[in-house]
Each structure stands twice: as structure tokens, then as C-alpha cells.
């Protein structure tokens, strides 16, 4: 079922993230995604996530499409000027990709190619506008193209970012640029998310909350320090420290977070660290399987 249709249906959405390989062998990524069979409404495929060089997501989305998955391809403005964005949008459409998550992208100095020229020719709002133009059969310069795209575009938001005023300015522009859904960065603090959801309620498009099950206290501290926008509360970290089975405790914490935010979002997006081995179990704990 197309993701746009799932969004329309009002169903509680479950998506999960996979990353393309850092090399030519795609089999590991496909096997990893295979664990999601029957569990998710769509699989997101990242685009040089955190500015770490990887294979183009177009290829992995296409392969996952062949396996029967609905995919959401991430597209950043960091690595492509408007010409390249348009080429890749056409390529993605031709490869059967129907959902794009438009984002500015992390800055190159955060990744493994720090001397890269950051492009940022368009911002995420302008990319959403570009997708809408191509959906209507036009290019950036308003010239007709041969066959329009049919892409359901989403946008990202950071529920932790404060003050709200400037964030809402951006989110409202994303909505008026025809974003059909918002996916958030990882939520570890349900109260902060709910505060965000309250002020963002009026935007009128579904909000899908990002979820990362933490694996260990050390891993949580590392993320707090290194990953932009991540804020894991001390309480969760001390629970991880004393837990007998930290991975299980991380899933419990994630399941509790999901329960606490569930009425304030339209779905969740699972971004595990190191593969989807536990994703089924987590979704079962949340009653989201079957």
C-alpha cells in the first residue's frame, strides 16, 4: 500500500530506517531490511546520513521496492545543487520511489569527509517546493518536463529545538510548501515531545516520532555528546547502568516513551543502532505487530 494512502487512512504508522552500505556490497543492507518484512508501513533509506559517505539511497530504495517494500528516500540539500536535485528526483521516480523525506542535511564537518564543499543551494523548504513543481510537471525554472513525478514529500523537525517561535516559522513554511508529513528526530524525553506536539498541533499534517532504542549507558552518553539534537535524560542513562540486560532495558525505555507520546503523534519511526534484530520485539512490546 502506498505510504500516502496509509497516511490518509488515519492508521498509526510504523516506519523504520536502513542505511545504504559503505561499499559496493548491498546484500547486508537487504538482509537487514528483510527483518522488517510485515512489520512496517515503509522503510526509510538514509542519504549520506550524518555526512558519512555511503551508496546512493536511490539504489537501495529500488532494490527494497523489488522486495515489496514501500520506501521513503531521504534527500538532503547538502550534496546537490538544484540541477542534481532535479536529476535525482527524476531518477528516483523512474526507479519507483514515491516518497521523499526532504531535509537540509547535517553539516559535512560532522562526518567522515569533513573537507567537503557544503552545497546548500536550496534549503529544505525550497526542496519541498521543487518536488511540488515536478509533481505538477514543471522543473525549477517552471519549464514543462516530460512526464510529471508523483512524490509524497515529508519533512523533518526537531522536537527538542527551542525556542519554538523560529522552529514553527520553519515548520509552517514546510507545510505550505506541501510537506505531507513530519518526521522528528529521536525522542527520548516524552514530556519535551508532548510540549512540542502541543504547539505543533495546528499544522494539520501527521507527525511521526523518531525512536532510537538505546543499547547501553555508554552508547547513550556517546549519542548525547556526538549526535546533534539528541538529549537522553539522566534517568534513562542510570536505568541503563544498573540493568542486567541493557539492550532489553533500552527497548523497555523506548516502549514506555512510545506509550507516553502515542496520543500525540500519528506514528513512529524506528532508527536502531546496529540493525533491526530487536525491532520486531520492540514493536511487540508496544502492541504494534499484527
Amino acid at each position: 500500500m502506498g505510504f500516502a494512502y496509509v497516511l490518509e487512512s488515519g492508521k498509526f504508522v510504523v516506519t523504520a530506517e536502513v542505511s545504504p552500505p559503505r561499499g559496493t556490497d548491498i546484500s547486508g543492507a537487504l538482509a537487514g531490511a528483510g527483518l522488517l518484512q510485515g512489520l512496517v508501513d515503509a522503510v526509510n533509506v538514509t542519504d549520506n546520513q550524518r555526512s558519512m559517505m555511503r551508496m546512493s539511497p536511490i539504489v537501495l530504495c529500488h532494490k527494497l521496492g523489488e522486495m515489496g517494500f514501500e520506501t521513503i528516500m531521504h534527500m538532503t540539500c547538502r550534496d546537490r545543487n538544484r540541477l542534481a536535485l532535479q536529476s535525482d528526483l527524476l531518477a528516483a521516480h523512474a526507479m519507483g520511489i514515491r516518497n521523499i523525506l526532504a531535509m537540509s542535511g547535517d553539516y559535512p564537518t560532522m562526518g567522515d569527509q569533513p573537507s567537503t564543499k557544503p552545497v546548500f543551494d536550496l534549503d529544505s523548504v525550497q526542496l519541498l517546493q521543487l518536488i511540488e513543481k515536478m509533481n505538477n510537471g514543471y522543473d525549477f525554472q517552471d519549464q514543462p518536463i516530460d512526464g510529471h513525478t508523483s512524490i509524497c514529500a515529508g519533512a523533518v523537525a526537531n522536537p527538542y529545538a527551542r525556542p519554538f517561535g523560529p522552529q514553527l516559522l520553519k515548520i509552517n513554511k514546510k507545510v505550505s510548501a506541501k510537506a505531507r508529513f513530519i518526521q522528528t528526530q529521536a525522542v527520548f524525553d516524552a514530556a519535551l515531545f508532548n510540549e512540542f506536539a502541543d504547539v505543533a498541533m495546528h499544522i494539520g499534517i501527521p507527525i511521526i516520532a523518531g525512536i532510537i532504542p538505546i543499547r547501553s549507558a555508554q552508547n547513550a552518553r556517546f549519542m548525547n555528546e556526538k549526535i546533534p539534537g539528541v538529549k537522553i535524560p539522566d534517568e534513562a542513562i542510570s536505568r541503563m547502568e544498573t540493568a542486567e540486560d541493557p539492550a532489553l532495558e533500552g527497548m523497555r525505555i523506548a516502549a514506555e516513551t512510545i506509550a507516553d507520546i502515542r496520543t500525540n503523534c500519528r506514528g513512529i519511526h524506528i532508527m536502531p543502532i546496529g540493525g533491526h534484530g530487536n525491532t520486531r520485539r520492540l514493536l511487540e512490546m508496544c502492541g504494534l505487530v499484527g
Binding site: 536550496l122 534549503d123 522552529q167 539534537g229
Partner: protein, 206 residues
């Protein structure tokens, strides 16, 4: 004002190695580089001494009034006759100054500084990244705070998600978008941020 930063000495030395051995004159610029202390008298004599210590053939350093603007080479030489005798000019100014001196002198002319942005000097404080010379100035619509230069991602339609409690995730400074928002709010002009801004028209820079 052009913002410059010193190049690593190793980079300067390896540039110098590419040219035949001849007398080097370190040239400072009396305007921006002097003001922000990257190419004033003190930096010129320090650079001269460092090159001398390495056994290079270095003349006394010189200051020009402005490296990027003069009547002619003759005018510069009139003020600093030694410039004409130098074999290589090692210039402590922005790239524009290096280019002009190279063009006018016809001598090998090398930069000792990196030019990083257009900024300001306010008393002793150097303010970087005021402008990236986009060719289509819209700074007035942002309360005088340019997001194309003040934001590493050149966001013109609002902050990215990395703006946490007012700080930018990338360079540890205040997120320019928080300042833009606050300034326009205090001016009662937040409506200037309504509507989606188009991307820069790069055609205008040609």
C-alpha cells in the same frame, strides 16, 4: 572588512620553495589586515623574522596603505622604494590585495593569509561571516543579520533542527536565526519572515 587568518608556516614555506631563491619582501596591508592584526606592522616583522630564522633571503618588511587599492605600482614604489627590489612579495592581506600587487608588480606574489569572509571589527572584537557576497543582497529583510553568511547551511527560511537553546550545533556560536527572530520581533516586524524566500539567483554574480 575582509576577514583573514594566518596560513600555517609550513604552507608558506612550501610555496616559497616553488620559486627560485631570491629576496623576499613581506608586505602588510594598512587597512583590514592591520586592524584585525593578521597583517599589520607586528605581524609583518614577526613573519620576516621567522623566515630569516630559517635562513631565507628576506628584506625588511613593508606596509602599504591599502593592498587592494592604489593609483599605480609607481605610487606604491614611491612610498616604499624597497618593493621594487624584491624578488618575491609575500603579502599579508586579503586575496584581493595579493591579486592587485601581483598584477601591478609583475613579480611572484604569494598570500601569507587565508581570506575567509566579509565581516567587521567592533573595538577589539572581530566579527566574522557578515556576508558571503551572494550577489543578491536581502539582508534588510532579516533585520540586518544575514542568514546566507551567518548560518553555515545558508538557511533563508528559518532555522534548521540543529538550533538548540539558541546555539548552532555546527560552530558553537549563537544560531543566527534566533537573533534574526528576536530582532525582528523586537522591531515588531516579524511579518518580514512570512512567505517562502526563493533560493539565490547565482546568475547575478557573473
Amino acid at each position: 572588512m575582509l576577514i583573514t587568518r594566518p596560513k600555517p608556516i609550513e604552507e608558506i614555506l612550501s610555496m616559497l620553495e616553488m620559486f627560485p631563491e631570491t629576496s623576499i619582501c613581506v608586505v602588510g596591508c594598512g587597512i583590514c589586515a592591520r586592524k584585525i592584526q593578521t597583517g599589520g606592522e607586528a605581524q609583518v616583522s614577526m613573519m620576516t623574522a621567522r623566515l630569516q630564522q630559517r635562513g631565507l633571503d628576506v628584506m625588511d618588511g613593508k606596509m602599504v596603505r591599502h593592498a587592494c587599492s592604489t593609483e599605480s605600482w609607481d605610487t606604491m614604489v614611491e612610498e616604499n622604494p624597497a618593493l621594487d627590489k624584491a624578488g618575491i612579495l609575500l603579502v599579508m592581506s586579503c586575496g584581493a590585495g595579493v591579486s592587485l600587487l601581483g598584477r601591478l608588480s609583475g613579480k611572484p606574489t604569494l598570500p601569507a593569509l587565508d581570506t575567509t569572509s566579509l565581516g567587521s571589527a567592533l573595538k577589539d572584537e572581530v566579527l566574522e561571516n557578515f556576508c558571503v557576497m551572494c550577489g543578491e543582497c536581502g539582508v534588510g529583510l532579516y533585520g540586518g543579520l544575514c542568514p546566507k553568511s551567518g548560518c553555515p547551511k545558508s538557511q533563508v527560511n528559518g532555522p534548521c533542527g540543529g538550533s538548540i537553546d539558541g546555539d548552532c550545533e555546527i560552530w558553537g556560536r549563537e544560531c543566527i536565526w534566533i537573533k534574526i527572530y528576536e530582532r525582528l520581533e523586537s522591531m515588531g516586524m516579524l511579518h518580514l519572515l512570512d512567505g517562502i524566500r526563493p533560493p539565490v539567483n547565482h546568475d547575478r554574480r557573473l
